[in-house]
C-alpha cells in the first residue's frame, strides 16, 4: 500500500538553531508534496507546495529563506526550519500526492 513516512517524529531544538525534517513516499511516486504546520491551538496551515518540474510555491507568511525545501525525486522531500523560535513550534505534516493525497504522521517540533 501507499505510505508516507516522516522523521523524526519528535524533535527538540534550541532557539536560534535549525532543524531538518524528512518525508518519504513508499509504494507510490509523489508528483507533489505539500508541507503543513499545525501550531498550538491552531489548525493546519499550508507552508508550501512542491511539484515535480515546477518551482516550489510558498504561501503567504512562509518563505524559502525560512523554510527551504528540497524535492530531489518522486519519493523524497525534506524541509528545514532555519533559526527556529518559539513561534515555529508545532506539528509539521507532509502530504504526498499520487492519485490521492497521503499524509505522514508528522514531525513535532519543540523549541526551547
Amino acid at each position: 500500500g501507499a505510505l508516507v513516512y516522516q522523521y523524526p517524529r519528535r524533535t527538540i531544538c534550541k532557539s536560534g538553531t535549525s532543524m531538518r525534517m524528512e518525508c518519504q513516499a513508499v509504494g507510490f511516486q509523489a508528483t507533489s508534496v505539500a508541507w503543513y504546520r499545525q501550531s498550538p491551538q491552531k489548525t493546519f496551515e499550508l507552508i508550501a507546495l512542491s511539484t515535480v518540474n515546477s518551482a516550489i510555491k510558498y504561501e503567504q507568511n512562509f518563505t524559502q529563506e525560512k523554510f527551504p525545501i528540497s524535492h530531489p525525486n518522486l519519493s523524497f522531500s525534506s524541509m528545514t526550519v532555519l533559526n527556529a523560535y518559539l513561534e515555529d513550534r508545532g506539528l509539521y505534516l507532509c502530504g504526498a500526492r499520487d492519485l490521492e493525497v497521503f499524509f505522514g504522521k508528522g514531525t513535532r517540533l519543540t523549541v526551547v
Binding site: V33, Q38, K42, T43, F44, G95, V101, F103, K105, G106
Partner: protein, 110 residues
C-alpha cells in the same frame, strides 16, 4: 482567502448516539475531505467527495457544493471515535492545496 468553518467546536455524546459534524466553506470547492486527528497529531483520511453522498462503514459524508457546505455523519458512535475531526477543502481539481477548518472535538462517553 479561503475559509473553512466547522461546527460545533465540540460535541459530547453518549455511546451509541449519532454524531453530525458540519463544515461550511467560503469558495467553490472541488474537493471536500474529512480527517480524523489522533491524539498524537497524525491525520487519518476518512472520506473525500466533491459533491453528493459517500459512505464508508459508519461514516457518511454529504457535500452540497452549491450551498458551500458539507457534513459528516457518524452512526452508532463508539468511545474510540473520540478525537478531533477536521474538514479540509481544495479549490482546484487535482490540487494539493488544502485549507483546513479548526476541527470538531468529539467526545463519546460510556
Amino acid at each position: 482567502g479561503q475559509q473553512v468553518q466547522q461546527s460545533p467546536a465540540s460535541l459530547v455524546l453518549q455511546e451509541g448516539e449519532n454524531a453530525e459534524l458540519q463544515c461550511n466553506f467560503s469558495s467553490t470547492a472541488t474537493r471536500l475531505q474529512w480527517f480524523y486527528q489522533r491524539p498524537g497529531g497524525s491525520l487519518v483520511s476518512l472520506l473525500s467527495n466533491p459533491s453528493g453522498t459517500k459512505h464508508t462503514g459508519r461514516l457518511t459524508s454529504t457535500t452540497v457544493t452549491k450551498e458551500r457546505r458539507g457534513s459528516l455523519h457518524i452512526s452508532s458512535s463508539q468511545i474510540t471515535d473520540s478525537g478531533t475531526y477536521l474538514c479540509a477543502m481544495g479549490v482546484t481539481e487535482g490540487a494539493d492545496r488544502l485549507t483546513f477548518g479548526k476541527g470538531t472535538q468529539l467526545i463519546i462517553q460510556p
